[in-house]
Structures are given as structure tokens and as C-alpha cells.
């Protein structure tokens, strides 16, 4: 399971389960948000990633 911002690279290099992230210097954060809000954003991405791990994929899939 690959969490990354630049999903096209992830697709090119061959990751199977891909979850989009926020930005390159802070894939799982957003410094302009309040701490609590930022953690909620992070949690959402991680939950999305965990859910993706429970789903079978054929080849490659981006879990938007």
C-alpha cells in the first residue's frame, strides 16, 4: 500500500494499491490547518489506506 502525492509516478513504477496524499513535503499533513484538524486529515488518509488493504485489486488501483 503506497501513500504518495504524485500518484502518476506510483502508477508508472508499479505500486498496486495507491492512496493519494496531500503534498510532497507533508504527504499526511497540512501545516496551514489547526493541529486537531490536521490530525483528522491524516487519520482519514490512513483509514483510506487501511481500507484499501482489505480490498482485492487486479493490477493497480488508486483509492481516491
Amino acid at each position: 500500500m503506497h501513500i504518495c502525492t504524485v500518484t502518476p509516478i506510483s502508477v508508472t513504477v508499479g505500486a498496486n494499491r495507491i492512496v493519494p496524499a496531500i503534498a510532497i513535503p507533508y504527504p499526511l499533513g497540512n501545516p496551514s490547518s489547526e493541529i486537531e484538524e490536521e490530525k483528522a486529515i491524516r487519520r482519514k488518509i490512513v483509514e483510506n489506506a487501511l481500507e484499501a488493504l482489505t480490498i482485492g485489486v487486479d493490477g493497480q488501483r488508486i483509492f481516491e
Binding site: T5, P8, I9, T12, A23, P25
Partner: protein, 426 residues
């Protein structure tokens, strides 16, 4: 738009009581230059030094390299929106001091910048071993934030370059060259048979030490736009950008952008050089998509037949490069892309992070992972304190005999992706 470039060849630099240019020698008053650099209260001190081609000198950590210029006729001044007042530049008459550069160096935040060797194997790889370099080593006041320090050094270098350039205002150039492009309608009427070609320049815009400024605007905040190619010759684009040193464009490269110059060389002969499109390399995917969409759209609006796309940096910008290439080719416009490679020290890895079949015409600036041994040199301008931490170095970099084992990455301008050098790879 028509710009006349006057070239004044500098053959030596010397410190002197008074700053002036006489018979091809630049005399610099250290005191006056220091005063210009230290106008910014964020800088505590600056020291000047001279490095000449062939001397046993290593300059590091190098931040920016700048060619002094002065605008003698026409609108605006050098580095508009940054040093000079904002105005559209690129027409009239500009003088450049050829054969020399102002080099900024000094302790910098994070992962330190590049190396310029004036002699030895390292000198073969950096274009700035061939220039007479006026080096300024800057030190910040205590407790300053990295972003502020970066900015202070960047601006100090530009101010000093403008100060030096001003010394040429009343001189007669050794050589003059005219650069002129047509408006859209003129171009179509004048060169109906020639292919319409533009230059797509991708500007590094990833954040601290990876930024570029256009008329003073941080390039990460621009949407792709069109420049007249002569604008860059007056300093419309400047560098805030030096990690990794090998493939970031110092301001010197922007001023002398080789794609612009080589397209002008063919303009009116084999092609019609329509203009320059600038775009960025941002850290959000949506911005990458937007910028590449817009770049392709601008190419289409200009009714182009072909473009040359140059990248800056590596890693995720490889995706911006591939997106630009794919989307422009999809408009039926032929592309050639210029990049460099990270193929591993042994050259056996894949060179780019992204790839697409549309990218069938690639120019490479070489493999940045190639290892070179830089022998110990007699003098260091700056400091070797960070030499094991710069991008392209490692804990093993500093060897027992004082030589450095490094990747080409550390050498300023070594694998430049505007095609500034002859280095390539197969």
C-alpha cells in the same frame, strides 16, 4: 520585441580602492561592494575573494552564480521586481560582463549547496570553472530563520551583481548581438514556411532552496504564462535554488539560457521562434495537473509545430516533465525534452522516476550519480564543514588524503537540464 545585447569581455578581476572597469579588467572596491551586500540588516558580515580559472581553489557551499548586467536603453532595469522597479523588460539595449560571475557562498540551512572547483577533474564538469569569479561569503545575524537567511543571501548576490554591472554603463561593448522575435501575426506573414517553435521552461518550485522567481513572483504561485524570450536576458527569472547543485539553474543560466540562444540562432532560418512558455514544478498533484494542462493549452493557442521542454531538478519533477510532454504531444505538437539521469553509481538503474512512450526524443545532461574524485586543492573559499552533508555526498566523502569522493550531483551546474553543457550519457 528587439533587444540589443552588448558584450564586454572581462579578462581579470582585482581588488582596488575604487570600483571601475578599465581595459577589460574589473577593479572592485571591497569596501563599496561590502556596503552594497550589507544593506540588508539580516546579514552580519560578508567577505569577498577572487577565483580565477586554473587556480587551485574550491568554492563551497555555492548558492547562486550571477552574471553582472546593466540596462542602458529601454524599459525597466536588471532583475525587475526584485532589484529594479517592476517594469516589462526585454527590449532596448543591455550590456553584459562576459567571462566573469558573482558567486554567493556561505553557511546555509539544511542540505548544503554545490561545489565549484577552478582546476582538476571537478573543473571539467562545472561551467563556472571557466569564469573569473568574484565570490562573496555571507554570514547571517544570529537566530535568523532559514527562509530569511536564504532570501538575504539571494538578494545580496543580485545587488552586488547589479552594482558591478552598473560600472559598464558608459563603456563601449566589444561585441553586439541583436535578438528579435515577431508578434504572432508578423511571424506568420514573415515566415509562412517555417515551423513554429517555442521553448517550454519548467521552473523549480518545490520550496526552500528549490525556488525560482519571475519578476519577483514565487514561481510556485504562477500559472503557466508566455514570455518574450529576450525578457530573461534582463533578469526576468532568478534562482532561489541550489539543491541538488548539478541540475538547478543558477541565475547565470537563466540570463544565458542556452535553449533560448540556440533557438534564436535558428530563428528565421530553419524555424520561427515564437516565444517562451514558463511553467512550474509544484508539490501538489492537482497543481502539476493544472500546470501541464495549461502549458499544453498555451502551446495549442500559439499554433506551435514543435517545442523544446527543459526540466529543472529530478525526482517528482520527472512527472511534470512527462505530463508536459504527453499533453503537448497529444495536441499534435512535436516535443524534445531535456533532462538528466539518476542511474545509480554503476549506471545500471532506471534514470527517471516517470516514463511514457510519448517521450521519444530525449536529450540528457548525463548521470548525476557518477562518482568523481576531487583532489585536495590549495585553497577553500567558504567552508568544507558541510561537505559530507550536501546532496551527492556521504559520510565517506572526505578521504584521508583530503580529496573528496562525491557524485556529480554536488558540482554546480554539472548535469544542467537546459543543455548548458556538453556532458551527456548513453
Amino acid at each position: 520585441m528587439r533587444l540589443e545585447m552588448g558584450y564586454i569581455y572581462i579578462k581579470d578581476i582585482q581588488f582596488s580602492g575604487e570600483s571601475k572597469i578599465e581595459d577589460g579588467t574589473l577593479y572592485v572596491s571591497e569596501e563599496s561592494a561590502k556596503a552594497v551586500a550589507l544593506e540588508d540588516e539580516k546579514l552580519k558580515s560578508v567577505s569577498f575573494d577572487i577565483a580565477r580559472p586554473g587556480e587551485s581553489i574550491r568554492i563551497t557551499p555555492v548558492k547562486d552564480v550571477i552574471e553582472p548586467r546593466v540596462k542602458v536603453e529601454g524599459r525597466g532595469g536588471i532583475f525587475p521586481g526584485v532589484i529594479s522597479k517592476i517594469d516589462t523588460v526585454g527590449e532596448g539595449k543591455t550590456y553584459a560582463l562576459k567571462g566573469m560571475a558573482v558567486v554567493t557562498a556561505g553557511k546555509i540551512v539544511g542540505f548544503q549547496e554545490g561545489i565549484i572547483d577552478m582546476t582538476g577533474p571537478g573543473a571539467d564538469y562545472t561551467p563556472f570553472s571557466k569564469t573569473l569569479n568574484l565570490v562573496m561569503v555571507c554570514e547571517a545575524v544570529d537566530g535568523i530563520e532559514p527562509h530569511e537567511y536564504e532570501k538575504a543571501v539571494r538578494l545580496a548576490g543580485l545587488r552586488v551583481a547589479v552594482y558591478i554591472g552598473e560600472l559598464a554603463r558608459t563603456l563601449t561593448p566589444d561585441e553586439t548581438k541583436v535578438y528579435e522575435t515577431c508578434t504572432l501575426k508578423e511571424g506568420i506573414e514573415k515566415y509562412p514556411e517555417l515551423p513554429r517553435v517555442a521553448y517550454v521552461q519548467m521552473l523549480q518550485s518545490q520550496g526552500l532552496l528549490h525556488d525560482t522567481y519571475v519578476y519577483g513572483v514565487d514561481a510556485k504561485r504562477i500559472v503557466p504564462t508566455i514570455l518574450n524570450p529576450t525578457e530573461i536576458m534582463d533578469g526576468a527569472i532568478i534562482s532561489g535554488n541550489c539543491v541538488s547543485a548539478c541540475d538547478k539553474n543558477p541565475t547565470y543560466v537563466h540570463l544565458n539560457n542556452p535553449v533560448v540562444h540556440d533557438l534564436f540562432e535558428q530563428h528565421g532560418k530553419t524555424l520561427n521562434f515564437v516565444g517562451q512558455i514558463i511553467t512550474n514544478e509544484n508539490v501538489y498533484l492537482a497543481e502539476k495537473q493544472r500546470s501541464s494542462d495549461w502549458t499544453a493549452k498555451l502551446c495549442k493557442i500559439l499554433d506551435l509545430d514543435g517545442v523544446i521542454i527543459s526540466q529543472e531538478g529530478f525526482g517528482n519533477p520527472d512527472t511534470d516533465l512527462i505530463m508536459n510532454c504527453k499533453k503537448i504531444e497529444a495536441e499534435g505538437i512535436k516535443t524534445v525534452i531535456i533532462t538528466d539521469e539518476y542511474a545509480g553509481r554503476d549506471g545500471k538503474s532506471q534514470s527517471l522516476a516517470d516514463a511514457d512512450a510519448a517521450a521519444d526524443a530525449v536529450i540528457t545532461g548525463g548521470n548525476a550519480n557518477q562518482v568523481v574524485i576531487l583532489p585536495k586543492l590549495n585553497k577553500v573559499i567558504g567552508t568544507l564543514d558541510y561537505v559530507t552533508k550536501i546532496a551527492g555526498a556521504s559520510e565517506e566523502t572526505l578521504r584521508g588524503d583530503g580529496s573528496l569522493e562525491v557524485e556529480l550531483q554536488v558540482i554546480t551546474g554539472a548535469t544542467n537540464e537546459t543543455g548548458f553543457n556538453c556532458l551527456s550519457a548513453r
